[in-house]
């Protein structure tokens, strides 16, 4: 069992963050996009944990908890809206189709 240093954790968080961002950009499915955003949020949360560990302070963990609750709330609302989209008769979850608001 080796302890990871905060710097390594930050690096991991950055990698996770980039992965999530790529996911948002690359995926067309709304659900997957939401999931990618969750990954990014979690990357941020991880970074807070790492930073908190560096300063031996509780704020990092406070922020982690808050991010978790935010992610939950966002997922809830997001899923609700997607459900409503589906109920309104949208055939797919493809984010690239059926856009009316543009220009």
């Amino acid at each position: 069992m080796s302890t990871t240093s905060p710097a390594q954790a930050l690096l991991l968080a950055a990698v996770l963050f980039a992965t999530g961002m790529l996911g948002v950009l690359a995926r067309r499915n709304l659900l997957l996009m939401l999931m990618s955003i969750e990954i990014m949020l979690n990357a941020a949360a991880l970074a807070f944990i790492a930073a908190g560990a560096r300063w031996h302070a509780p704020q990092g963990q406070v922020m982690f908890l808050m991010i978790l609750s935010l992610a939950a709330a966002e997922a809830a609302i997001g899923l609700a809206i997607i459900l409503r989209l589906h109920a309104a008769g949208r055939p797919t979850l493809d984010a690239d189709t059926g856009n009316r608001l543009k220009g």
């Binding site: 948002v24 950009l25 067309r28 996009m33 690239d96 856009n99 009316r100 608001l101 543009k102």
Partner: protein
């Protein structure tokens, strides 16, 4: 008292003009005639009164009011009566009165007669302002005023667009000279701080530029080369207009200006030489053109140019008195010629082509006599005619200045006699081509009579010593111009007398009724001469047409394209940003990511 008269001399025609123009044609024709002619007649009477009183050399100064008074420059409107303006005043009022009287008959049936007389009286007023002004700037009021009246009167019959074009041309060409003159005034005002003539002449700033600029104004106004092209076209106006404005008065304003400012010119020999040269060139070119014209008024127009060329020649030669003398006699006989020609034109159904007339001497003997008197004076037939004496004086002056000038002037004199008698022989002799109708009324005949007599005897006021030692005019003008130069050898007089006679003989040989078969030589030179030596074409191709064409091309203003381009750029930018707004959420996320990366790079940059 004289001061008041002087004001009234100007005020009467001005008042008449105001009344006539404001009446807007609601006045009966007869009243119009009475007001128009009467006002100038009153002026003439008063002018006569002033003239008989003020023969003393002392000049009369009548300040009116201050016009502009600013830092470093002030000018006032003031009249001066000195011998020169006295002579001019008499010419303008008397000849003007006679021409207006004639116009009463000539324009009798025109519905717009009020406008006509309004403009004519306005012209007389402006001309008098020009003549009386003691300040160059108020002179300029008259100078431009006569120009605009000329414009209005040439285009008087404005339904014909040719008349309108001729009027516009006349004004614009003279305006070119006026602009030069204005520049001259600016220069003088800057140098001397004043434009008042007396102090200006007391210490003339020897400025060649100023002299040449002023000369530009004189050249254009007096239809001298190279700005002469407007005068033949100006004949589009009614004949009394041609007589008054384009023969007797306005066109001689240039001569007056140079004579008035003669110390300024005399101080610049180059300017004097140029004046003489312009005069010589114009008198020869115009005489040549007059030789081949077929329109009677155009013959007279070219003749006017040519005669004013004589005056310029005299001015350039320093023979100031001769120039003014010729101005006076020319005003008389040219007005006479025009009015006689007008009488002819009126009788032959407004035809002006001399080849369509012919044999009119029998049909209208009175008019013929008048025309003949005028022609004789113009040709300068010896002893009997006014033109002889004035031209003789010019020839003397030219001889003293430069024999070459004299030779040219003599050649001109020959041509003059030829072209005017060509006109007489074709119009009044030989077979008749048109039957004249009507008769020349009294209002038209009386001025013809008066001027006819004057054209014959008017020259007697100043004769060469060889004939009779009468020097009324020279003596009158001598306080201004100094004593006239001594006379040359007597063979000069002989030559000057014989050349016109030779000219008449030559005309008789060529165009006497019996050999009407003689057709004018139709070669390129004649064609060129008929069109005024191609000046019109030249200016048209070089200046007018390119200028107008480029203007047309740029009608929508190229600068406007700049603003259009800016607007188009903005719109394109808007469209681009609209495309950024594709509606696809992934694309939006892409922009955010791109922005983030750009921000990160920005942080890494320095």
């Amino acid at each position: 008292m004289d001061a008041l008269f002087l004001k009234l001399i100007v005020a009467f025609p001005l008042l008449a003009a105001a009344i006539l123009l404001l009446s807007a044609g609601r006045m009966p024709a007869r009243a119009t005639c009475v007001i128009g002619t009467g006002s100038v007649g009153l002026s003439a009477l008063m002018a006569a009164r002033v003239a008989t009183h003020a023969t003393s050399p002392a000049s009369l100064h009548v300040p009116l009011w201050s016009w502009m008074r600013v830092e470093g420059f002030s000018t006032r409107i003031a009249f001066t009566l000195d011998p020169l303006s006295l002579v001019m005043m008499l010419v303008v009022t008397f000849v003007g009165f006679l021409i207006l009287l004639y116009a009463c008959g000539y324009m009798r049936d025109d519905p717009d007669i009020a406008r006509f007389f309004g403009y004519m009286t306005l012209f007389v007023a402006a001309m008098l302002v020009l003549v009386f002004s003691s300040d160059l700037l108020s002179l300029y009021i008259g100078w431009e005023g006569v120009g605009i009246c000329s414009y209005l009167l040439i285009g008087f019959w404005h339904i014909d667009s040719a008349n309108v074009a001729a009027a516009r041309k006349a004004f614009i060409v003279t305006r070119i000279g006026d602009a030069a003159m204005l520049c001259g005034l600016l220069l003088l005002a800057t140098r001397a701080g004043t434009l008042e003539i007396a102090p200006l002449l007391a210490a003339p700033p020897a400025s060649a530029t100023a002299a040449f600029l002023l000369l530009g104004g004189a050249v254009a106004k007096s239809a001298q080369a190279p700005l002469q092209t407007w005068l033949p076209d100006a004949m589009a106006g009614p004949t009394p207009v041609s007589a008054l404005i384009h023969a007797a008065t306005m066109v001689t304003a240039g001569v007056y200006l140079i004579a008035r400012l003669h110390p300024l010119f005399a101080a610049v020999p180059a300017a004097m030489a140029t004046v003489a040269l312009i005069g010589l060139v114009t008198l020869l070119l115009a005489a040549g053109s007059a030789l081949v014209q077929t329109d009677i008024k155009r013959i007279l127009a070219y003749s006017t140019m040519s005669q004013i060329g004589y005056m310029f020649l005299a001015l350039g030669a320093g023979a100031w008195q001769a120039a003014i003398f010729h101005l006076v006699t020319h005003a008389v006989f040219k007005a006479l010629l025009f009015m006689a020609a007008g009488a002819v034109i009126l009788r032959v159904h407004h035809r002006q082509d001399i080849y369509q007339m012919g044999g009119l001497a029998r049909a209208m003997p009175g008019v013929f006599a008048a025309f003949l008197a005028g022609a004789a004076a113009l040709a300068g037939l010896p002893l009997l005619t006014a033109g002889f004496y004035s031209k003789e004086m010019i020839l003397q002056g030219a001889w003293h200045a430069n024999p070459l000038l004299w030779a040219g002037a003599l050649l001109g004199a020959l041509a003059t006699a030829v072209y005017i008698f060509r006109c007489i022989f074709i119009v009044f002799f030989g077979p008749r081509h048109t039957d004249p109708t009507g008769r020349t009324g009294a209002t038209m005949a009386l001025p013809l009579l008066c001027l006819g007599i004057l054209a014959l005897v008017g020259g007697w006021i100043d004769m060469p010593d060889a004939i009779a030692p009468v020097h009324l005019l020279s003596r009158l003008l001598s306080p201004l111009f100094g004593a006239p130069t001594a006379e040359g050898p007597s063979w000069l007089l002989w030559t000057g007398s014989l050349v016109p006679l030779a000219g008449v003989g030559l005309a008789w040989l060529l165009w006497r009724p019996r050999i009407r078969a003689f057709t004018p030589p139709e070669d390129a030179v004649a064609r060129l001469a008929r069109t005024g030596w191609g000046f019109d074409t030249l200016y048209d191709t070089l200046v007018v047409r390119p200028f107008v064409a480029l203007g047309r091309l740029n009608q929508t203003d190229i600068c406007d394209r700049l603003s259009d381009a800016t607007a188009a750029t903005a719109r394109a930018g808007g469209r681009m940003l609209g495309r950024m707004q594709s509606g696809q959420v992934r694309r939006y996320a892409g922009w955010i990511a791109a922005g983030t990366i750009a921000a990160l790079c920005l942080g890494a940059w320095p």
